[in-house]
């Protein structure tokens, strides 16, 4: 490992752990306002959606809204599977299978 690689990893560790630990460290000294507490439950779906939708519609950084887009097909099928089965493993497995099948046959 080179010196600049070591600095990069040390820096990435510091910011990542810093963010994850910041609120836990202050736990006793921090009280959250009511509206913040009720907003917390919206965080996971909001963050995950904001990561996922562009990854599916612009898989290579360019708009690709077409049935020829295997990422979009995989996403549509896993949404359907997720709603119907309510089972995480089935959702992932069907999405991955759809993706591989699409790549093989189209």
């Amino acid at each position: 490992m080179s010196e600049s690689e070591a600095w990069m990893i040390a820096g990435m560790f510091a910011v990542t752990f810093g963010i994850r630990y910041f609120l836990f460290a202050l736990a006793e000294r921090i009280r959250l306002a009511q509206w913040i507490e009720s907003g917390l439950k919206f965080i996971p779906p909001a963050v995950l959606t904001a990561i996922t939708l562009p990854a599916v519609l612009l898989p290579r950084g360019e708009w690709y809204v077409s049935l020829a887009n295997p990422y979009l097909i995989a996403a549509l099928l896993s949404v359907t599977a997720g709603i119907l089965t309510r089972n995480l493993l089935a959702t992932i497995a069907i999405g991955l299978t759809a993706f591989l099948a699409h790549r093989l046959f189209f």
Partner: protein, 242 residues
């Protein structure tokens, strides 16, 4: 109140068990990270150290991409900071459940806090049973995710040097598909639907923002709209009751 002596162990094992599907989702993701790192110019030691010490899938991916584009270290660290800001939101959600624990618990649980462990654990904390050892559940989930990630990254690194063109397989589809499976259980009522639709629309409108800032902006828009929808629904119910 008496709890069975096996409760800690049971919570730990349940946390690992409920994380199993997400381990599968992380598998191709870890393999691809290893394979990309192997071809990016990053040394094997650095790629493994990044998985071991940073332990954050999406920022590791982005860092590898930036390394191969010969980006300055300071920019890579800043990008990592921005991409991982969402973890602040996660720790805020878990805070009420973990603030009674000593630092020797909070430090490792913070280090191991990932999208996956968060999504599994938050459901456990929100269940209304009196178990005082729900943090053991989070520990089980964390350790399962950590070991799984190290293993697949290592395998990806070893294979990445041998398999040509691993990048073009497109197995990065594992991330959106896994995340879809994680989003669906949260979407149970009208405010949650409003939140997800708004965050999704905002993520497409903010694509031009640099350094993945769009993720943070869109998440805030989604949260605000969810809160607003929740107020409106509550106000309507209040009116109907009169």
């Amino acid at each position: 109140m008496h709890y069975p002596p096996t409760l800690k162990r049971d919570e730990f094992i349940a946390g690992m068990r409920d994380t199993l599907p997400l381990l599968l989702g992380a598998l191709p993701f870890g393999l691809i990270y290893g394979a990309l790192a192997a071809t990016s110019g990053l040394s094997m030691g650095a790629a493994l150290a990044m998985s071991a010490f940073v332990f954050a899938g999406s920022s590791q991916f982005i860092a590898v991409g930036l390394v191969s584009a010969q980006t300055p270290v300071a920019i890579i660290i800043l990008t990592t900071l921005i991409v991982n800001l969402r973890h602040l939101l996660y720790s805020a959600t878990l805070l009420p459940h973990l603030k009674g624990l000593p630092q020797r618990w909070r430090i490792p649980l913070a280090f191991w806090l990932t999208d996956e462990t968060f999504a599994v654990t938050v459901h456990r904390f929100q269940r209304n049973d009196p178990s005082p050892y729900k943090h053991w559940y989070q520990l089980g989930s964390s350790i399962a995710m950590y070991l799984n990630w190290q293993f697949w990254c290592l395998l990806g690194l070893v294979l990445g040097n041998r398999i040509p063109d691993a990048q073009s397989w497109g197995l990065d589809v594992a991330m959106p598909v896994t995340f879809i499976g994680m989003i669906i259980p949260f979407v149970r009522n009208v405010p949650a639907v409003v939140c997800v639709l708004t965050a999704g629309a905002a993520s497409l409108l903010t694509l031009a923002l640099p350094y993945k800032l769009g993720i943070v902006v869109s998440a805030c828009a989604g949260i605000a709209s969810g809160l607003l929808a929740q107020r409106l629904v509550a106000a309507r119910r209040e009116l109907a009751r009169r």
